[in-house]
């Protein structure tokens, strides 16, 4: 197990900057998720940790030791690729055993560890199969067993669940989480799925365009996003964003005026769908229901208002409005997020205290 430090680590290919200079510390035994849209440099970061890519700048340390120049094969890192990358010509047993070949593990010990790893991920019955003869979920488990069999000090998972169907994803999410707890191996999960990141990891690193935007727990990212990007990327259904102006102690967005002292200039107002409410016409903003999406325990409405179309999430499965109905949209002045339009940073205001983690 290891404590991982990145100091000003960067990677570029010619003019293409994949990862800007990045600082990150991952504690021994921690489970960290790197979350961000496709192409933001998550995999590149992971591959630099594995030793597949050499960073173009900065230092990577495992337990305080500089590993920039240490080859991938000597880093004792386990990795699971998005494609699982099972060796197509080897049986499951041979696949799992492969990493032990290069470690000089005696045959009986290797056999024992292979069956142990297979048991850990429940693929004992599949040991004689070829990868092409297995389902995606089974391949995934085998890839996991192969990553774990050498008892790595760092486990890297690159979008491991993105090729699985929804039910299987749920199972594997819990299973990987449980395995990680049990083995205590430092783990980094790369994903573009926020639910995956927030449910599995202790801490989430939110990335965009090669930069880390924010590091924190799921609650931190949801309730106290530092940047406009984090606010818009985290949360499903996504947050409503409205352009406005702050002046003389208020924020004005169209006809809406909210108290907000201590800020000036162009701002972006962020309102989560669940903080908006629907009421009888005449209350709040005048609205007209555009679409109704039943989500099971909640219902998502898209409402046309003078400020633009807003997403409103109502709890409960009973639906009081139908498409085309006129309604009012009530806006609270709590739980609003205000971002500076130019820097996209969140602004702290005196009167708009954010709902702290309740």
């Amino acid at each position: 197990m290891a404590r991982i430090e990145l100091e000003q680590v960067a990677k570029s290919w010619g003019d293409v900057v994949a990862v800007e200079p990045t600082d990150l510390v991952i504690e021994d035994g921690e489970f960290v998720a790197i979350l961000g849209p496709s192409g933001c440099g998550k995999s590149t970061t992971l591959f630099m940790l594995a030793g597949i890519y050499a960073p173009t700048g900065g230092e990577i340390r495992f337990d305080g030791h500089l590993v920039n120049r240490v080859e991938a094969r000597d880093r004792n890192v386990g990795i699971v690729f998005q494609s699982y990358a099972l060796y197509p010509h080897m049986t499951v047993a041979k696949n799992i055993r492969f990493p032990l070949k290069f470690k000089g593990v005696p045959a009986d010990e290797a056999a024992r560890r292979v069956s142990e790893a297979a048991r850990l991920v429940h693929v004992e019955e599949l040991l004689d199969r070829l990868p092409a003869e297995m389902s995606g979920g089974q391949q995934q488990r085998v890839a996991l067993a192969r990553a774990l069999v050498k008892e790595p000090q760092l486990l890297l998972l690159d979008e491991p669940l993105s090729n699985l169907d929804a039910t299987l994803r749920l199972t594997m999410r819990a299973e990987i989480r449980r395995l990680q707890r049990r083995l205590g191996v430092t783990t980094i999960l790369v994903t573009h799925d926020q639910i995956e990141a927030t449910t599995m990891a202790d801490r989430v690193v939110c990335m965009s365009k090669g930069r880390i935007e924010q590091i924190g727990t799921a609650d931190d990212l949801y309730q106290r996003p530092n940047k406009l990007f984090v606010a818009s990327f985290i949360g499903a259904p996504p947050i409503n964003l409205l352009d406005g102006r702050a002046e003389r102690g208020t924020v004005r967005v169209g006809e809406l005026t909210l108290p907000a002292s201590g800020i000036e200039g162009a701002v972006v107002l962020g309102i989560r769908p669940e903080h908006l409410g629907l009421s009888a016409p005449g209350h709040g903003l005048a609205g007209r229901i555009l679409t109704v999406e039943p989500l099971g325990r909640e219902t998502l409405y898209e409402v046309a208002t003078p400020l633009g179309s807003l997403r409103v999430l109502e709890a409960g499965s009973e639906r009081r409005w139908r498409e085309g109905d006129a309604s009012g949209v009530t806006v609270p002045d709590e739980a609003l997020l205000i971002f500076d339009k130019a820097s996209e940073r969140r602004l702290e205001t005196a009167s708009l205290a954010l709902a702290e983690a309740a």
């Binding site: 591959f47 594995a50 030793g51 597949i52 991938a72 094969r73 880093r75 890192v77 386990g78 990795i79 690729f81 998005q82 494609s83 699982y84 990358a85 099972l86 060796y87 197509p88 010509h89 492969f98 990493p99 070949k101 290069f102 470690k103 990868p131 092409a132 391949q139 192969r146 050498k150």
Partner: protein
């Protein structure tokens, strides 16, 4: 159908007529499938006739022709028996799908056709044309012909056979080793001039090798490789390489980076990752390039004709050329026999490898 219907009926009582319709539909389906298959068979047979006929003719000549005449009677008689036999086998397959009946039917047809053949062409068959396998001086030993032949003018056919085997085999080995390494390097590494190198490969392949024959002759002369198998092997391997490298690069391109990276993270060196993980994925490609390379070496004529003189260096293509030359175009039987002897290895190679070569288009890497 007949198994599932009763239970279906129990679950949801359907009128009897519906059941009858289902059976009729199933029968119609079967009939249509049988007709489709029959038509397909007929088409394939028709298409393969022009391809197979010359080979078959060559074979019948080699076992039946006698001095002087080229005689197609044996060919027509055997075709007259074999074609109905093949058609009968086809019909048999359509008429019944029960294993035992098919087997007996087939055995019957084969027996009848065999008897008919023995009666119709049996007396014409002989092995005299195959004497060249034993006797290097067979030409002058054939009574009443080969007037222009001097003692020991021909090497043993086995010398030529061995030379051809050596030429094709070593050539294939060279092409495969260089093409594999070069293809891997071109597929995986970026270096200056990579794009122009790839273009050059294609241009080289498009270049007619024949135009190079004089420079190559001089090159061989100056390097002292003229009239050696080594020289010819080097020339043919060189001419084969550009395309082989290109094909192998394509096969390596199809191997995902992931598994190679995975192997390296798993503790393999780059070389071990190549040998144990990447290489096994391109085996089919290797086989394809190998087979074509071998055939190319086996059938080579132009360069061996130009660069080899000594009869101990003859390959099969030269041997068959000199045999036909020497017999002055009269004894087709011997030429046909040598021809059959010459094509058999190619055919065997295809037969053994076709199972894997066919996989090529279907296979690839799943996972």
């Amino acid at each position: 159908m007949s198994v599932t219907l009763p239970s279906l009926q129990r679950a949801r009582p359907a009128p009897l007529r519906a059941q009858a319709d289902w059976d009729a539909l199933a029968k119609a389906g079967n009939r249509r499938r049988a007709i489709g298959q029959g038509l397909l068979m007929a088409f394939l047979v028709t298409v393969s006739v022009p391809i197979l006929l010359p080979y078959f003719w060559m074979f019948t000549i080699s076992v039946s022709a006698r001095t002087g005449g080229v005689d197609s009677a044996v060919l027509w008689r055997s075709i007259g028996i074999l074609v109905p036999a093949v058609l009968a086998l086809g019909f048999l397959n359509l008429l019944t799908d029960r294993g035992m009946r098919r087997l007996y039917g087939a055995a019957g047809i084969v027996l009848i056709a065999g008897t008919a053949l023995a009666w119709a062409i049996g007396p014409d068959l002989h092995l005299q044309n195959w004497a060249f396998l034993r006797d290097a001086n067979f030409v002058e030993n054939l009574s009443g012909r080969g007037a222009g032949t001097v003692e020991a003018q021909f090497p043993s056919v086995w010398t030529a056979f061995g030379n051809s085997l050596l030429l094709a085999g070593v050539q294939t080995f060279l092409v495969l080793s260089v093409a594999t390494l070069a293809g891997y390097y071109l597929s995986r590494f970026n270096f200056q001039g990579r794009a122009s190198f790839l273009q050059a490969l294609l241009i080289l392949h498009a270049f007619p090798a024949m135009t190079l024959i004089i420079p190559i002759f001089l090159l061989m002369h100056w390097t002292g490789l003229l009239d050696t198998l080594t020289g010819v092997i080097l020339v043919i391997a060189t001419l084969e390489l550009p395309f082989a490298v290109f094909i192998m690069k394509g096969f390596f391109d199809a191997v995902p980076w992931d598994i190679e990276m995975q192997a390296i993270v798993d503790g393999a060196s780059r070389r071990q990752a190549f040998a144990q993980v990447v290489f096994p994925q391109v085996k089919v490609g290797l086989l394809a390039v190998g087979v074509f390379s071998f055939i190319r070496g086996w059938e080579e004529y132009v360069f061996v004709r130009t660069l080899l003189f000594d009869k101990q260096n003859w390959t099969m293509s030269l041997y068959i050329f000199w045999v036909s030359e020497d017999i002055m175009g009269v004894d087709y039987g011997v030429v046909a026999a040598v021809g059959v002897f010459y094509v058999v290895p190619s055919i065997l190679l295809y037969v053994f490898c076709q199972k894997y070569l066919v996989q090529m288009s279907l296979g690839g890497i799943k996972g």
